[in-house]
Subunit: 424 residues, 2 copies
């Protein structure tokens, strides 16, 4: 489904073939989010950054779950990321403890001890092996974890398992997000109804290579470790790894998936029909979650899809799409409804890929503004087309067959305000 | 002077040894800018973008000058850039015609014809070989040059040579710049007083690889072609190639240097004492011009120097410094007087270089906020230090001896306003 050509509109439409049901919470509160069987949740208030909100959450599987994870490529990795990267080697787990308000990054040896202690306390309270507990953090970098406030709340959190919704977890992990992000897909696999539900938080410090700060996907599917890992990697490639808000890759980016087998299907193995259905669903879920992150980009007023087609290779297409999506000049022009395609061809040109500008076509929301590297004279009309909540930028390089799509948002005064005042 | 370790404060101070006199116009109007002998200037109004300002300028040497140039590395090159890259092969020239208001980029075959015609008309009017005339343009990309308005003004421009100051040329080439940028250095070479004067324009679409949109340096020194080229390349490496406003590399970036020999010194050849003096002066001039560009960054309120020390290599240091200087999160934090060093170590981490975060020290305006990758607890004090027009970010990686300094500015709501409305 997510082919080498990237995730195009027709692919998404194609999902209907699989009887996919997607419920977007936070966007349209249609109904209660379907949750896979055998999972419980809890939230608590630990006043990690400041009091007054739930900033601690627990995801618990009733039995050992098969797990896979992907982590930031930033050379500076937060303590919980280092902990989880170690634990994910087992391919298994029972619980995830998540806090917002403090990233536990750049906190040295003590930071790692704090993450370990967090897992240990929760594990003990749940009567679960310490190493089956994963820890994720998001928030300010470089502050010690306030363990004196966190420590006493952890047993309470464990004891409360089942008292909260997955929706509440989605809300508790928010930082500058303006709405919780939760999506669910249901489908039949091996004759059994399987539910896959995911949450994530984003907003800022979002860029290629694990663009989401934190994402958690839970499913009751029965699946082998290798197949789960493969499905997650493929899904992330064209979703969380193809979005950018501001070009900054965080120290804490983590996506974890837990599959506990409660659906009772015959365990899914790689390269089977069941795998194809499952992998497509996970990919679809990740793509839609990534879309939610971009829609909620800090200060954003518009969702922008940058599609580069007919590059020499897919890698070239991705590089150009990211150069455009990260260009402040492009993002401000879109904010200003200015069909300034010169900035688009300029960013394509400096992206480092092969470009023959005498071949480049550029369309904005379906209107061609540049043909063979020159103006079509339809800029005024195009300005009008940009007065839309969604902007599709299409760049046709006519050099090969590589294509990629990157999601981003516009850049506004509010991004500046949010980030100039984030810690105060 | 500009060693492998980059341009540090002590290097600049060292310039005093050479009896350098720098006069900054637009910052402090101290006196009339010294101009090398044997150059004349003209400006005219051609209403290229809109009427009401001088948007056309001429730099003319009274005899054939030795010339060198550096051009944008963007794969999409404006027509005048392609023209000048061809002509600079001769190592000679007489005149430069510059317009603002239209970049003549992405204008196809006609764009190149327009640039050629511009040079031809001016050459004929000056009785100078067509190929000795260079053309530079800056402004909006993708609009055909309004030759019907430009054409009749070109003979007038040529006829007016000598009626304007170099300062007027600096003003005519401005786009979103808020002040003209002109600097001059005088020194004795081979017993003769030599003057080197430069102008440039910047403001937006400023990034590594020929960061200035346009820069013109004129000197009455006598110098060989190879020596001039070498001096320019070395100077640009640590000046115009080490600044960034918004990470966007333009289609039109050009720096040209003309040396007409009117000073009467024995021609400077590479690897001589005279060369060292001359090259140091050009480097100093370019560095100070680059500083002016950053100080005038679109919407900027602060000049930011990012110094990365003790990286594995100079290339690593440069990479990290640019990642920091281009980070929107860093730039907004500085705007907000927020000593959020987590964003600095994060950008260092994702820059792609070798980093051991347990070794990283970070200082802001001389105050250490992060030692060995952890907080020193002096953030509040550091916030106060940031309330300054100049911010020096010092990152010590303790991995080797590579160092680099990149100049940038903060990111403010005004950048968004300027660029959301640039074409309207």
């Amino acid at each position: 489904m997510f082919s080498a050509a990237g995730c195009m509109e027709q692919d998404i439409a194609g999902c209907a073939d699989f009887d996919v049901e997607i419920i977007k919470k936070g966007i349209v509160m249609e109904k209660k989010t379907p949750i896979p069987k055998g999972f419980r949740f809890a939230t608590a208030e630990a006043a990690i950054k400041k009091p007054g909100r739930k900033d601690l959450a627990l995801i618990l599987s009733d039995t050992d779950a098969v797990m896979a994870g992907m982590f930031t490529k930033n050379a500076v990795k937060a303590a919980p990321v280092r902990l989880d990267m170690e634990r994910i080697m087992s391919g298994k787990g029972r619980a995830i403890v998540i806090n917002s308000g403090n990233a536990n990054a750049c906190t040295g040896v003590q930071g790692l001890k704090d993450a370990e202690e967090t897992a240990k306390i929760v594990g003990a309270a749940l009567s679960v092996a310490e190493k089956a507990v994963y820890v994720c953090s998001t928030g300010v970098i470089g502050m010690p974890m306030p363990m004196s406030r966190l420590r006493p709340k952890l047993p309470e959190l464990a004891a409360a398992a089942g008292n909260a919704l997955f929706d509440d977890v989605a809300a508790a992990i928010m930082t500058t997000d303006t709405f919780p992000k939760i999506l669910s897909i249901r489908k039949k696999i091996g004759g059994k109804p399987v539910t896959i539900t995911g949450i994530c938080k984003g907003a800022g410090m979002i860029a290629p290579n694990m663009a989401t700060m934190l994402g958690f996907i839970i499913t009751d599917a029965a699946i082998g470790t290798a197949a789960l890992k493969k499905a997650l990697n493929a899904a992330v490639k064209t979703s969380f790894n193809r979005i950018t808000i501001d070009g900054d890759t965080s120290t804490n980016d983590t996506v974890l998936i837990m599959a506990n087998g409660f659906a009772g299907n015959a365990p899914i193995q790689a390269a089977t029909a069941d795998y194809a259905v499952f992998a497509a669903a996970v990919a679809k879920l990740c793509y839609e979650l990534a879309m939610l992150i971009v829609q909620d980009g800090e200060g954003a007023t518009k969702l922008v899809e940058v599609v580069v087609q007919n590059a020499r290779t897919e890698a070239d297409a991705e590089k150009a799409a990211f150069a455009i999506a990260n260009s402040m000049l492009v993002k401000t022009a879109i904010y200003g409804n200015d069909a300034n395609w010169g900035r688009l061809i300029c960013a394509t040109g400096y992206s480092g890929i092969a470009v023959d500008d005498s071949k480049v076509d550029i369309s904005l929301n379906g209107l061609m503004v540049c043909k063979n590297g020159m103006a079509t004279g339809r800029d005024v009309e195009a300005n009008d087309r940009l007065k839309s909540k969604k902007v599709v930028i299409l760049i046709n390089l006519k050099l090969g067959k590589g294509a990629a799509k990157v999601l981003t948002c516009d850049l506004t005064e509010d991004y500046i305000k949010i980030n100039a005042e984030y810690r105060s």
